[in-house]
Subunit: 284 residues, 4 copies
């Protein structure tokens, strides 16, 4: 595994941006491994992801901010620097359905997900043994109408204690409070078991069955204040037929959920996602 | 091309249905070519499509109704008999976008669609030359708020004069009146350029772009009173990315619309579609 | 779960087949739940899968053979009767890659696979803990050029002792001897990590990468004497790009392998597969 | 439509490449619209596509070569400059099947393909009327074993007379001579009706049917000396079942062929394809 840095930039589109950034990195000996950019003409926006090898890079990580600041200021950049050496710390929240959790843990174990998973939180005990098998600390926090506030307070405490960077809702069937959502902007990924914006809300498979659609879908997205309205990260579909009962939709949907959620988590962890205008740009 | 008959049956599910139907056909020398059935447990419904070779069949077509009536009555069947010798007569309605029309006409010419197309109706003249190339009579009927009733009256007259069995809306951008829709139940197929029930109504590609979906879709369906709420016949999707502008969605969508509409028309023509509870059963 | 019987029939296509079979079942009070058939005109072959509720069925299972024999004889049928009460017994063989095994075990635990799994056999110890977590007895049988015969003898002994109906090769990287293959005809399912017949044999992902294909695939099939030439049960593909290294193909391929193998196992277990002419008919 | 220039670059990967190119363009006032690059670590290769608006660009097109030459020389670049103002000139060759031709001509007419099509060449007369409808000159050149050399000579004469940049084989059923192929390197695109490298050569649908595959495919590729071994540009697949006869495969395949060929032609015309090591890099 190479020791790399990834720079994510969003700013107004202006001439000379690429030249300036490329020149800055080149002057400091950066060996660029990947560079991808996107221009949104409509919003006059420039978005870039650029990754380079740190070995020959002459700027110590600690001094990067200071040295890059003038460049960033000149172009009104929003920017983040991500280091491959600093693995993101991910918390997984789950209720009773364990297929997404089992999938994420297996991918993590097999090296597909370059992150640390310091904890799993559930409002049930069903997945405790699974967590134990993969050696991830499991925290049971029951949630009821009356205890929701305390439950979330306990969750926040755990996130803080473990310096969590990303919260993955792997079929966590509780609606988060506005306080929760605003506390972790663009840091909560959810899997919704429909092809959004179709079938927002509860029981999407049942409603898809009733409507008689010929394809079912799943959608991974960042969680925002409005339910199922956050920026979409990934979607996929599966074909169904009149032979499929609701149970078959649910079973076929599990495969979609697993794959669609795991892609979103992976792209977030690999710093491939940029957000603007409630949309995602995926550099992959 | 074989000379065949196809029987479409819908009735309450009861024991002995298959045995009775198969026995009836067998006793009259039918050589069954295809048989497909579906049971909807929830609605206790039985649906069947059965096709046989007419050559060795001992019942003259003219007498089939009389002879099958007692069987049908015993099981409360809704049934239709379709003969391969009687090609359905299809009218295509189109506005300015000609990609679906060009696709249907090419498929018809190449033998994919076993129907007659006695006329094309458009509220514009853009597709007149295309119709002429394929040798289909073209009727221009302008439509405005004030003339809608007369326009539809003229359309009805043409449908009657040409004994039209099926009306295909190949990107016909006028909303049909309730009178029109109720006049041709389960005989109007429309293509909607979204993955229904997402983006019902106008400008679906623009709204898909604004929402930031990762897949776009198209849906063919029977037209009913409520806009875009009719029974879905077929759907398909295409993957898009942040690099795609609205124009790219529209262009990629054209390929979806062509294929999704042509499948629906083909299945209808081949008597593969049964309807119930605002859903379709596709026997293919 | 209903208590059902499934009859699988293959025979020369002749008039009266459906009528005779349906009549036989009806006379004995069978409530047919699913019936599907296929006629292969080219080979004049008739294939049928018919499933009925045993509750009201008047023939005791023990007497079915005797009573159905005359019907079968009259039409030269090859036929099998499968009972939902008799869960097939499946052995899984695996080497070091555990993604297919983990997937099958999770599906089994969640009820997707209606079978018993009395044992897992591996020529490595990597998956021993995984087997233990799911409570499946794990047998390590090392295999080398010199010990292959003894190893297979030990495997046969286990299959016999546990009355194994189906052997699933979940990325088992040893080539089975002709003796092994002939011993379990149409009872060994393998997953090959390419879109057969492309890239038969070793290192398919590497060869796909070298050839510069734009899609990779996976294929599940029954194992026959000739390597990767057995009847194909299921295939699926994933899109790749020039950005994907061999490692990315391998990672994307794992998702294909999981799904393509699990579908094949499920369809086999649910008695949905009929074979002829080195092809499969999937009734689903 | 903007007036743009596109630079395609292939060279050994070295530090400072992006900085140098971006600086060169910036110094001359280029407003970069799209930039995409790829590094092949294995082959230490750098590939780039960069498109900019010519309006504010200070180098006259005629002088670009002279001014860019030193930069190119310093990095051992293979490079081409493409101007949106110079539409590529495309010749289409076809035999009797007209579905790909009809599709390409309709896309061209609707503006999807930014090229000129000065001629269609066929060894049959079946598509003459179609060519006439779209206003493209049609040349009938019969081909037989004995006349092949003269036929190709006549074809070369037409290509020269019309300054053809790209030759599209839209189901042209004659094998080109080695002389033909070497004469137009990376300038001949063919559609093969299988998922290469499966079913190379003749009658792929028949062989796919015999093999019992569950998916059929189509592949567009550049033509090289070895039949069906050229660099793959695009592939796609469609699902089939045991209900599909060879005729159904052929019909379903037509939709694949249309789409897979049209994508390849479009990407070539838009200068999105770079070749190396018998592979394509698609910048889209």
């Amino acid at each position: 595994m190479k020791n790399t840095a990834t720079l994510l930039i969003t700013c107004p589109d202006r001439k000379g941006l690429v030249a300036t950034i490329a020149d800055f990195l080149h002057r400091h000996g950066a060996n660029i491994l990947h560079a991808d950019q996107h221009q949104d003409a409509e919003n006059n926006l420039f978005l870039m992801r650029i990754e380079w090898d740190l070995d020959a890079f002459s700027i110590p990580v600690a001094e990067f901010d200071a040295q890059f600041a003038p460049v960033a200021a000149r172009f009104d950049m929003h920017w983040q620097l991500k280091l491959s050496g600093q693995r993101p710390r991910v918390a997984i929240m789950v209720s009773q359905y364990d297929h997404c959790l089992a999938d994420l843990l297996h991918r993590h174990k097999s090296g597909e997900l370059a992150c640390d998973i310091p904890l799993i939180i559930s409002n049930h005990r069903d997945t405790e043994a699974l967590a134990a098998f993969y050696g991830i600390p499991f925290h049971h926090i029951a949630v009821s109408k009356d205890t929701k506030a305390e439950a979330e307070a306990a969750q926040f405490a755990l996130f803080d204690a473990h310096q969590i960077d990303l919260i993955v809702l792997a079929r966590y069937m509780q609606i988060l409070s506005p306080d929760f959502v605003t506390r972790y902007p663009q840091r909560i990924i959810n899997i919704h078991h429909s092809f959004l914006p179709a079938f927002i809300g509860a029981r999407p498979y049942h409603r898809a069955f009733e409507r008689g659609v010929k394809l079912i879908g799943a959608t991974s997205h960042y969680v925002t204040e409005v339910l199922d309205e956050g920026p979409i990260i990934e979607q996929d579909i599966a074909r169904i037929s009149h032979r499929d009962e609701v149970e078959d939709l649910i079973q076929k949907g599990r495969d979609l959920e697993r794959i669609v959620l795991s892609r979103a988590v992976r792209w977030h962890i690999e710093n491939r996602i940029l957000l603007y205008a409630n949309k995602t740009v995926i550099f992959n």
